[in-house]
Symmetry: C3
Subunit: 185 residues, 3 copies
């Protein structure tokens, strides 16, 4: 079978189960954005060198989870059988707690960035939040697996915590947002 | 003439032909997303080193094509004269066939990533699919050059095939999505 | 206080002032996209090495400005007190003029790319334009601080000028879009 089937050339495509929908439907947008995040994680992994190598296995496991979650998003059925589990969220929360406990406490916003590893994780954080907005858009007109939405909400906090911890590992101080500065004029 | 004209400061802008539209119109979103993809390709080229240098010329030609295609998307007229040709699609299909023939056959999803070249091409793949969704959104209320939509559909398959071939060149094995794994708990 | 409060798990969130809105509302999309741009800038800074180190301080100041601007976007009130000032725009215009004066004049489109610094700045340019489209979408149904929209319009021109100047610093020639070429067939 060829990679390209030409069937989608006019803008329609198929879901799991066979339902035909527009490529611009909220559902396709949702799992398409999940695919974009997944690809960004594949890219992020290539920057997890030196001490930051600790993130490689975790990010790869998250990539696997996104395929599980994507399957639930791509499924339409009167009696959907979802596969994505709460236990994936428990795991994220443990990691967030660990990373938070090993980073300086903050009570202010920080400028996203620092080491390159931290920087790619902050981008991952904001793509995850874009994905979350898109899943909420889908949820407005169709029932979804709510565990997926919850996971994605927690996932952006995971990336925030991981980015901060990456800066700890790379001995880079986070820069605070300073709402009292004068700036350049 | 200065780069900034300030004319767009209130949110309106001009198409080719002079029609005024909102910057948030489906049409501007479509060629704006094409510009985003184009910029991502410019970035991707900077990672085509070593054996992956083979992609440089191709990606640059695709950048040129995106300007041709963008022109068709930015044109509104009662009798539009489109310039974007089917032959650009034939060329993509030849490249997809070549890359597919020189990569291991698969019957499963792969985790987007691997070498850095493969990783940036997977991101390009998903930005292309975001662009495709946006062109479909435009098509719902305005006629477009359908060759552009077809090209963009094929282009995401080109990036998938090219990403896999990049991993072949860099001797990196693609990791499969494993829907039977246990994962971290 | 834990990083994750779980309050947003069902898709709603809070603005400054306490109003509850859907995460998919135009307003949350707008400041969420601003956060994505901010994160991309944090990433871009990591590529400002060698002669391109001149951009570091400027990009960091823009990150600070995006938080000021984001605050105005996240505020809903009957009598909003906006903090984002015109002087930030004056500063951008001075930088655009400087960069334009120190780059070769052009009367054609260029392929986004060149040195890696130029390439990341072009991506920043197109993410800024995506943000601008989203702010225009918000403006359609709610009043905003118009200075923010104007700033974001100028900001994409700043990134264009800065990308071109980065190529000057790195001694890379911009490649023109050539609408007369034959291409690969
Ligand atoms: C708007 C907003 C944002 C906007 C910022 C808008 C802008 N200016 O550009 C964006 C989208 C960028 C954002 C991002 C995040 N935010 Co926020 N945000 C808010 C919100 C709604 C208002 C904050 C604000 O600007 N107040 C206006 C002015 C007056 O505040 P300020 O003087 O600058 O002081 C504020 C900051 O210092 C901040 N702050 C105080 N303590 C902490 C602790 C942490 C960990 C952080 C990151 C910030 C923070 O809150 C102060 C008062 O609101 C609050 C909730 C609320 N209703 O207050 C959440 C809130 C501050 N955010 C929160 C979180 C978790 C985040 C993120 C980590 C989410 C994520 N996973 O990406 C990121 C961090 C970004 C970063 N770079 O640091 C949490 C913090 C929880 C905590 N542990 O204290 C809050 C309280 C929401 C909540 N209940 O969950 N956010
Ligand atoms: C949903 C879906 C996606 C989602 C995945 C959702 C998720 N889980 O996160 C996303 C958007 C990520 C996706 C991406 C792609 N997809 Co897709 N996808 C589908 C779809 C609709 C359902 C697949 C599925 O999850 N089934 C549910 C469970 C039960 O399946 P599973 O046990 O995991 O087994 C599946 C995979 O092994 C896969 N598979 C089997 N053979 C092949 C061959 C290739 C080349 C690939 C990539 C996958 C693949 O299909 C199996 C059964 O559906 C099918 C079409 C259909 N209606 O079946 C196309 C389909 C599998 N996709 C296809 C393609 C081409 C792709 C992309 C290459 C497109 C692109 N250019 O980006 C990428 C590859 C991504 C990757 N990393 O490998 C083609 C494969 C054609 C072929 N040569 O066999 C299909 C058949 C659609 C079609 N007719 O064109 N896809
Ligand atoms: C559509 C369009 C775009 C599309 C391109 C669509 C595509 N083909 O993919 C996109 C969104 C990519 C784009 C981007 C930009 N554009 Co534009 N674009 C236009 C528009 C509406 C039509 C141009 C066109 O394609 N004409 C059709 C064919 C016949 O033209 P052409 O033979 O290829 O020749 C054109 C180019 O050479 C170009 N051109 C001529 N002089 C200059 C000078 C500069 C600095 C640039 C960048 C281009 C340029 O304009 C010619 C005729 O329109 C014009 C405004 C208008 N109504 O004409 C603005 C216009 C050319 N763009 C402009 C600008 C500033 C930009 C950006 C720098 C904005 C930014 N900050 O990102 C970028 C530059 C991108 C790049 N890589 O070079 C300005 C140029 C101002 C100036 N100094 O002369 C214009 C005139 C709009 C305006 N009044 O502000 N643009
Ligand atoms: C930290 C702040 O970010 C906002 N917020 C919550 N979820 C998202 C999202 N998916 N995208 C953008 N902004 C979001 C809320 O206003 C929250 O309080
Ligand atoms: C491989 C699968 O990806 C989905 N699909 C097809 N086109 C797009 C797009 N532009 N964006 C996201 N998903 C898409 C379809 O469901 C297809 O079967
Ligand atoms: C250079 C050209 O880009 C278009 N333009 C102006 N603002 C945006 C934006 N935010 N996104 C995409 N395209 C835009 C207009 O058509 C302008 O003339
Ligand atoms: Mg959240
Ligand atoms: Mg397709
Ligand atoms: Mg503009």
């Amino acid at each position: 079978m060829k990679l390209y089937t030409k069937k989608g050339d006019l803008g329609m495509t198929q879901l799991i189960g066979g339902t035909k929908v527009s490529k611009d439907s909220e559902r396709v947008r949702a799992y398409g954005t999940m695919d974009e995040l997944n690809s960004w994680l594949g890219y992020s992994i290539t920057f997890c060198e030196g001490p930051a190598v600790v993130f490689v296995e975790e990010l790869q496991e998250i990539q696997q989870c996104l395929f599980d979650a994507g399957r639930d998003l791509a499924t339409v059925s009167d009696h959907p059988v979802y596969i994505f589990h709460e236990k994936n969220i428990d795991w994220l929360e443990k990691r967030i707690d660990f990373y938070s406990d090993h980073s300086p406490q903050i009570k202010q916003f920080i400028l996203p960035g620092g080491s390159r590893t931290a920087a790619v994780l902050h981008v991952a954080r904001t793509v995850t939040r874009r994905l979350e907005r898109q899943i909420v858009a889908l949820q407005k007109y169709s029932s979804i697996n709510e565990v997926v939405l919850k996971y994605v909400n927690r996932l952006s906090d995971y990336f925030f915590a991981a980015a901060r911890y990456a800066n700890v590992l790379n001995k880079v101080d986070d820069v605070f947002y300073d709402n009292t500065r004068e700036g350049f004029h």
